[in-house]
């Protein structure tokens, strides 16, 4: 398992300061959330901008859309809206004992929420594809995210791969001995197998716990006293700050304009 979605390229999007990128993407996601319901033209405009950004970042125009399907299980949460919003009835059908009615308002709300989530994920992916994970960690630290959360993320990033390997080795070792007798007979009840799996999870936990103690010892050995000291990042250049300001202003103006237009 890898947390790192970074795709190395030489593009302005890759070179941009990670702190400013994070702030800008958070503002963009917030802006997408603030777009009015049913403003499908505005959603399309945002998507085209993302396609453009993805192209500039040398990721290819559709890379973000391809990567964004991870969001699918989450947008399904919006499906009940179809049946629960009062409005003009489009379709009525029976599903077992349930009589379900789809309304135009329900359909519009559901599609809006799905479109907004999908766009937000693509914006976040743009950040993840163009910024190395270590830079993201440095950046959130510089943005005054509490040190304990930064350390948790940083340790998780470092050790998730180690843990996944360990779990993989354990499960391979089990597979290697999960044989059948020469007659083809297999044994072991379902509960016994479940217990074995439970024990594996438990021993993975203990191993991780013990590893954490060894890591802590290694940190103490190099002078760790309980607080993290890290090197400071340099201040962002004036030019990047200027670009950041322009881009942020564009997002704000766009969101306000779309909302005013919807209120007409």
């Amino acid at each position: 398992m890898e947390l790192d979605r970074y795709i190395p390229r030489h593009s302005p999007a890759h070179r941009a300061d990670a702190r400013l990128k994070i702030l800008f993407i958070v503002a963009t996601v917030l802006g997408i959330a603030l777009l009015p319901v049913g403003a499908f033209v505005a959603y399309a405009v945002v998507w085209l901008v993302l396609v453009g950004a993805s192209t500039i970042a040398q990721l290819g125009p559709l890379r973000l859309a391809r990567g964004s399907w991870v969001v699918l299980p989450f947008v399904l949460v919006a499906v009940p809206l179809l049946f629960t919003r009062p409005g003009e009835v489009l379709l009525t059908f029976e599903l077992g004992p349930l009589g379900l009615t789809i309304t135009d308002a329900g359909l519009r709300d559901m599609l809006s929420i799905m479109a907004k989530s999908w766009l937000s994920v693509q914006a976040a992916l743009l950040l993840a594809y163009t910024t190395a994970f270590a830079d993201l960690i440095d950046a959130i630290r510089a943005l005054s995210v509490p040190a304990i959360i930064v350390s948790i993320i940083s340790f998780m990033y470092r050790y998730l791969a180690v843990l996944t390997d360990e779990a993989g080795r354990m499960s391979r070792a089990r597979q290697a001995r999960s044989a059948a007798a020469p007659t083809g007979q297999t044994g072991g009840s379902m509960t016994w197998r479940a217990r074995v799996t439970g024990a594996m999870v438990g021993s993975l936990f203990i191993r991780s716990y013990e590893r954490s103690e060894r890591i802590y010892a290694a940190m103490l050995a190099r002078g760790f006293t309980g607080t993290f000291h890290t090197a400071e990042l340099p201040r962002p250049e004036g030019r990047s700050l200027a670009w950041f300001g322009i881009a942020l202003a564009a997002v704000v103006v766009f969101v306000i304009a779309v909302n005013l237009w919807a209120l007409r």
Binding site: A218, A221, R222
Partner: protein, 245 residues
């Protein structure tokens, strides 16, 4: 990494006892003394107390009877921070030693904690990585590197602290011959005192002139490696084997 101006790197251990909270008596009166600049092997069977002893050099374990002193300073809570700068402890599993997202941050961890100024930090990291032949790996992610590379970076993480002695726990375990050679080359290039806990007696014969054998928590033999490693009876009595080369 500058040559120590006055000889530093001496270890004196007296009557050292240690019992783990679960009642395991790991050290039962260890006595030993190592002079600055010596290259010493610490050998013995699994469970003999080698790792426990190493963790005492740095004040990570303590609180039993007896004393450990480094360059004349007794290891105790008041001195432990200074001691940790002097004793570079390299753990067996680099996945324990390297806990930062990037190589650079890990090598910088010790110096930053010692208050090394920003301007010197970069230089220290570069020097430490160069000393282990891993220049240019600053931005790399530890879990994408080979075991041998991670081992050498583990060494760099303590070299960057300018220690007067290097203490290794099983440095060659699990390495392929090339990785082992590269690590031994790094060890041979160091002017610091070396104390190496190991089962790799071929490495001892080649690189470490003095051997200390420890078993059941006490020192059972201490002398020139060339002599001890020929004493088959002694080696076998303590779960060891004469190296074939």
């Amino acid at each position: 990494m500058t040559e120590p101006s006055s000889p530093a790197g001496g270890i004196v251990i007296e009557h050292l006892h240690f019992t783990y909270p679960d009642g395991t008596e790991a050290l039962r009166g260890v006595e030993l003394s190592i002079d600055p600049g010596e290259k010493v092997a610490l050998v013995g069977p699994n469970g003999a107390g080698k790792s426990t002893l190493l963790l005492h050099l740095n004040g990570i374990l303590g609180g039993g009877h007896g004393s450990v002193s480094i360059d004349g300073t007794t290891v105790e809570p008041a001195t432990v921070k200074r001691i940790r700068a002097a004793v570079g402890l390299v753990f067996q599993d680099p996945d324990d030693q390297l806990f930062s997202p990037t190589v650079r941050e890990d090598v910088a961890f010790g110096p930053i904690h010692m208050g090394v100024p920003e301007s010197e930090l970069h230089h220290r990291v570069e020097r430490a990585l160069a000393a282990v032949g891993m220049s240019g790996f600053e931005r790399r992610v530890p879990h994408h590197l080979s075991l041998g590379q991670r081992k050498r970076i583990s060494v760099a993480t303590v070299l960057s602290m300018d220690p007067s002695m290097l203490v290794f726990d099983e440095p060659t375990a699990g390495l392929d011959p090339r990785g082992r050679r590269e690590l031994m080359a790094v060890m041979a290039s160091r002017p610091e005192t070396l104390l190496v806990s190991t089962h790799d007696l071929a490495m001892v014969a080649e690189a470490l002139p003095r051997t200390i054998i420890i078993d059941e928590g006490v020192v059972v033999a201490d002398g020139p490696s060339a002599e001890l490693l020929q004493d088959e009876e002694l080696l076998e009595a303590h779960g060891l084997e004469k190296p074939t080369c």
